[in-house]
Symmetry: C2
Subunit: 425 residues, 2 copies
């Protein structure tokens, strides 16, 4: 292995990382090897407390902002911009232990190695360094996903995010307040600005795993259209109501779920479509449903293809309205266009991988990440490590220890160069 | 109007009935004119308390049995069999105010009129008289429906009924205990037996409404097959998981809902099919569902047609398993065959209607009723009054005051004749 690393990898650093990852994975652990720690739950609070203690012990100043993003700051040069790195500690219901948590832990370990390095070397980099846990990246408890980074980057108003409710009617503001995570100010106010961002994550796809490549250099995101749909029918008796009289909201919703899948079949691998959430009212075995709420999710590397799919879906819904005698309302849509990550960030990561002797390839991300928001305001590096069989949002998610350690090493060197001015505008 | 009624109708009796029905309809009332008082909820308890007070004031002895059936007994001739009449006080979520509650109130008013009549006339009929509110007829909170009468008639073991859980995991036994409705013994133990049964209910169909007929003489039930189905897939990321890798339980379930509807289209009006309850796990907007639980409901006047539909459904499910890469498990099925009500009961009701000058016609019931269970053990009369447009299990359910009063009058005369020995074996 070639190495020109500022802070070379060591067996001790690897061991500390893996031990910390085991400790984190015990929080909200499920019997099948996954974790359940949705945003602002007691399990999420436990993750945040763990991170806060870890960073504080190592000399970082920890503070949360008004939407529950948690930062650990280390100031080298007062007033200079921050190099920020992180991901998210929340998980899906019965999610995997790597998704998000690995990225936050990797950022914390990388930052700690760099702080230690500069302290021991007596050097002062021209930029400051911070670690972040973004609030509610998963979007399973509060919709939409990537909420904390969206508010941070100005893509979503703070008030709108805080007013979002979960299925029990609890607002994000209340949920954050209950776990003591509702900060009263913005951490990076005034002259304290973020100058660049880096994030590392498991792939959530199988390109790296299939090709035996260790590092993914993310150069583009897939575009996404997300819809909240309501299907409106009439409540009736399942036995007694004549079929001709039915306005069955669940039948209409089922036709919509099938139509959404057929869209993907029509466009091949260039379109991913899903309905992951569907709720029936009143949901009684002997009552024809009066209303169904559902979330649809369409993603593509092509904005044009996504627009075409959107148009086809509207037409198909009009047919379903007639066939099932229901009304279909689109109540909310959350959209992001396909975008490129800055070339400078990709080039930096490619150079680091080459210098460290780590195999790498360009990949696109189908999933949204907090870096999807961050790249819109600052130069950003997004790195992937392999996930076996591309499994994610599931308890069987798995990444090998060696890949976890290599990922942190690449991130450490990338941040080292960013601290020295790489990606500075 | 011809009348040979033992206890003739009076404007005062009609007014008392309608006033009581208004009082009952206020319990668990919903803004849209319906009611919500599912089995063993506080609203159901309030209904039971109202009935208990009403019957007690009028000289009935009120007692509950071990599955929460509530009886009001009036003994004329010690040791003689009872003529029993009633229905159920529980409702669907956002159900109508007539379904069930009317039948219990009608039985109570009819019984009170008969008790008063015999007391004032100084006569002693050879049989005793009782009113019943059957537990959990609706089956929306605890599955299956018609639970109380099923246990009473021996169609379902007591222990199985009490161990049934609602979606919050509360057993029927606990729910009954919480509202103080879990009796410790059977009310009709030993020599106290029920000799015959009568029930009146809104039609839950539109035959009477369409034809302008006041009274339905129920001569047969539709057969029903009810299934609890689990669709098993694999959890994954909605954006990242390749379409070819998906084992989407909700897609499989949607195909099943559509297949169930297509069955009805194939067989025309001789088959009613529904899926009213469908629950998705984990039900997150960005997670491909790992499991879906659903209740299917197939009904037909023909046992043979239902068997054919069941066979087609099995084959269709096998195709869906391949198409969606899921497994479909049938976890529970509740079946009742189409059956005739006893001819003697139909003849008695027809004679009463004719003698009172009330228009009547034979109808089949598509919905299950507690009389569906009772007719299997004793001679039974099942009466319907019209429901406007056949609406039921919905807040818009409506029956005219005149029909409510006429129904009680017919039930009173029917019970009068049963008390005097009609239908005695």
């Amino acid at each position: 292995m070639t190495t020109t690393a500022a802070v070379p990898r060591s067996p001790e650093a690897d061991a500390r990382l893996l031990a910390d990852f085991v400790a984190l994975s015990a929080i909200g652990a499920t019997p099948a090897g996954g974790v359940e720690r949705q945003a602002a739950t007691p399990e999420d609070a436990e993750m945040r407390a763990w991170l806060t203690a870890w960073l504080t012990e190592r000399g970082f100043t920890v503070a949360g902002d008004r939407v529950g993003n948690l930062f650990g700051l280390y100031e080298f040069t007062p007033g200079a911009p921050y190099v920020l790195a992180g991901s998210h500690l929340d998980s899906q219901p019965r999610g995997g232990r790597f998704d998000g948590a690995y990225g936050v832990l990797a950022a914390a370990h990388a930052a700690d190695r760099l702080v230690t390095h500069h302290r021991e070397a007596g050097t002062t980099p021209p930029f400051n360094l911070a670690v972040v846990d973004w609030f509610n990246e998963e979007g399973s408890r509060f919709t939409p996903s990537m909420m904390g980074s969206a508010v941070f980057t100005g893509a979503m108003p703070l008030e709108k995010a805080l007013a979002t409710t979960d299925t029990a009617g609890i607002t994000a503001a209340d949920a954050l307040a209950r776990i003591g995570a509702l900060g009263s100010s913005d951490v990076f106010g005034g002259a304290r600005t973020v100058g660049s961002y880096a994030e590392i994550h498991i792939e959530q796809g199988r390109e790296l795993d299939k090709s035996g490549t260790t590092l993914g250099l993310v150069d583009a995101t897939w575009a996404a259209n997300k819809y909240e749909i309501a299907v409106l029918g009439s409540q009736g008796h399942t036995g007694a109501t004549a079929m001709a009289d039915r306005r069955d909201a669940l039948y209409g919703a089922a036709l919509a779920v099938v139509a959404v899948r057929e869209l993907a079949e029509r466009f091949g691998e260039e379109l991913h479509t899903s309905c992951g959430q569907l709720t029936v009212y009143p949901n009684s075995p002997v009552v024809v449903a009066r209303e169904v709420h559902m979330h649809l999710d369409l993603r593509s590397p092509s904005d044009a293809l996504l627009a075409e799919a959107d148009d086809l879906l509207r037409r198909r819904f009009a047919e379903i309205e007639l066939k099932a005698a229901v009304e279909i309302e689109r109540r909310f849509a959350h959209t992001w266009k396909g975008h490129l990550y800055q070339e400078a960030g990709v080039a930096l990561a490619r150079a680091v991988a080459a210098d460290l002797g780590v195999s790498s390839m360009l990949v696109k991300t189908r999933a949204g990440h907090d870096s999807t928001n961050m790249k819109d305001i600052v130069p950003t590096v997004m790195l992937f490590i392999p996930s076996v069989e591309g499994i994610s949002h599931a308890e069987a998610e798995f990444t090998a220890d060696e890949d976890l350690c290599t990922g942190v090493d690449v991130l450490t060197e990338t941040l080292a160069r960013m601290l020295d001015g790489a990606l500075a505008e």
